[in-house]
Amino acid sequence: MHTYTDHEDHAVEVEDLVVTYGKVTALTGLSLRIASGTVIGVLGPNGAGKTTLVRVLATLLRPDRGTARVLGHDVVRDPLPVRLAIGLAGQFAAVDQELTGRENLEMVGRLYRLPRAEARRRAGEVLDRFDLTEAADRRVGTYSGGMKRRLDLAASLTGRPPVLLLDEPTTGLDPRSRQELWTIVDELRASGSTVLLTTQYLEEADRLAQRIVVIDDGAVIADGTAAELKAGVGTDILRVRLNEPAVLTTAATILEDLAADGTAVAPDPVTGELAIRVSRPDASAEALRRLDGSGLRVATIQLTQPSLDDVFLSLTGHTTSVPAKESR
């Protein structure tokens, strides 16, 4: 677990948050702190409680128990300064179809209490940055799905809030739009914004966030940098490919005792590969020596760090792709 020092400057502080919807408990005592100016990835499967966390921080949902503070302001007791400090982009494009892109952004700017001219200027800037200038004076109804989502994100930045809450910002985006969004998050990070983004994609959290918080069933189950989380799994993975896949089973027997406690060595008939969780630092050399000695010809041998999927599996006992409750 990540440790905190008292003098660390936190943009978001969440303590023991409990949220229930009727009989369903969406958050079961979630605690979390986000240092100012960092990008944090909240990672978890559908139904883990990611959206609920975002809704509490955005003052849209009152928690049943616990506290949440943004820039020191309690989201329940004093929501207005929280709203002034945050920008929210949800899973849906919350923009007016009948208005143009520019009108949507100018309205949001005005509602961040900017003077009219300033709202107009910023809308222009943000449209430019999101590559929407050409479409700016067209009705949003004529935009593609990706453009609408970009506009939605643009809207959340118009008031230049120091804290951004991005709920699954790339879900449903095509690869190009996703790449663009990644670039924007990088820029936000460079400009000192604090960003909380939720994602179901491990790769994305790894790519964008300085810190990853893994949540499952409404609570934080792991917290750290991608490297720390991977190290926490404690084992590397040795992948062995032979020239003759037919003898893969023989190889499995020879390498069996290299496997970390309690893990099996199962040949994968599809990839023609053995994947072995190993904890010995010399596992690679030892495997090569043994296979060579037995006259088995090795095509490739590779020692890899676990993927974040492996991390999730080792933490929860299931992968992220388990079909779960509808996210809310």
Binding site: L80, R83, R110
Partner: protein, 279 residues
């Protein structure tokens, strides 16, 4: 603990936020400014749905034609001609239908996620409803003007002085404004556009038909008549009749109608704001 003050200091000066008991609130001026921005948004949206505007005018006109030329001949309104009796009633009905739009529109904003965005912005929750009801009021001004012209074309002949006609017009607008808030509350409580639509008709039809809008209440059976005679729709219709064609005398129903409207506003504004907060 955090950098709150660093972000607050420059912000507060221009944000309309005032501090009371350690909490931040919005000044009344800020609430009204936001309401204005949101009303402008709504009007712009409405104007860009021309088919919607046309239908919202066509429907009441069809009602006028149906009642004037189909039911009218069978309804006995004594000394008053039926068209003179009918037009105040149908104008009030149009106002209430116009108010239904408020709740429907809010459910649409709820399902598109726009309400979530608005609720996460540093504005008063009431500003969204103030803006929405104000925009619908502006639309209703035009609807009522159209209805008045249609009425004159089919033979409606007001007999009273201009100031009374003006007062009648304002009363109907006040009525539509108050019912916009009721409709907002219903829409925000049921949340779903289809449900809001049918829920709207459930309360609006009994309220308009069990009233003096289309037929004299004297023909109704006891309990229905008792309901109809105390129904705010009846009071507003009678006041408008009195103010436009001189019968019944307008004083008493006008006062009663205003009391009703003030009471309804006091109840439904907080209810609607609360429903919006929870939606």
């Amino acid at each position: 603990m955090s950098t709150a003050t660093a972000h607050d200091a420059p912000a507060t000066a221009r944000t309309g936020l005032v501090t009371r008991n350690g909490r931040h609130r919005l000044s009344a001026g800020a609430v009204l400014t936001d309401g204005g921005v949101l009303a402008a948004r709504q009007l712009r949206k409405t104007l860009r749905r021309p088919t919607y505007i046309i239908f919202s005018f066509v429907q009441p006109v069809i009602f006028v034609l149906l009642f004037r030329y189909i039911f009218g001949g069978a309804i006995d309104t004594g000394a008053t001609s039926y068209v003179n009796f009918l037009m105040p009633g149908i104008i009030v009905q149009t106002a209430i239908f116009g108010a239904l739009v408020t709740g429907l529109g809010l459910t649409e904003d709820l399902s598109s996620g726009v309400v979530d965005r608005l609720r996460s912005l540093p504005i008063a929750r009431s500003a969204v409803l103030i803006g929405r009801t104000a925009a619908d009021l502006v639309v209703n001004v035009f609807t009522l003007l159209v209805m008045t012209v249609v009425g004159l074309l089919v033979g409606f002949r007001p007999t009273q002085p201009a100031w009374q006609l003006g007062a009648a017009f304002l009363l109907v607008l006040a009525f539509s404004y108050v019912f916009s808030w009721i409709s907002a509350w219903i829409g925000l409580s049921v949340r779903n556009p289809e449900t809001a639509q049918s829920a709207g008709f459930i309360w609006v039809f009994p309220l308009t038909f069990a009233s003096s809008a289309f037929v004299p209440t004297s023909t109704m059976p006891g309990p229905v008549r008792a309901f109809a005679e105390h129904n705010p729709v009846t009071l507003v219709v009678n006041a408008v009749r009195g103010l436009t064609i001189g019968a019944p005398p307008p004083g008493r129903p006008t006062v009663q109608a205003l009391i009703w409207l003030a009471g309804l506003l006091l109840i439904f504004v907080p209810l609607a704001v609360r429903a919006f907060r929870r939606a």
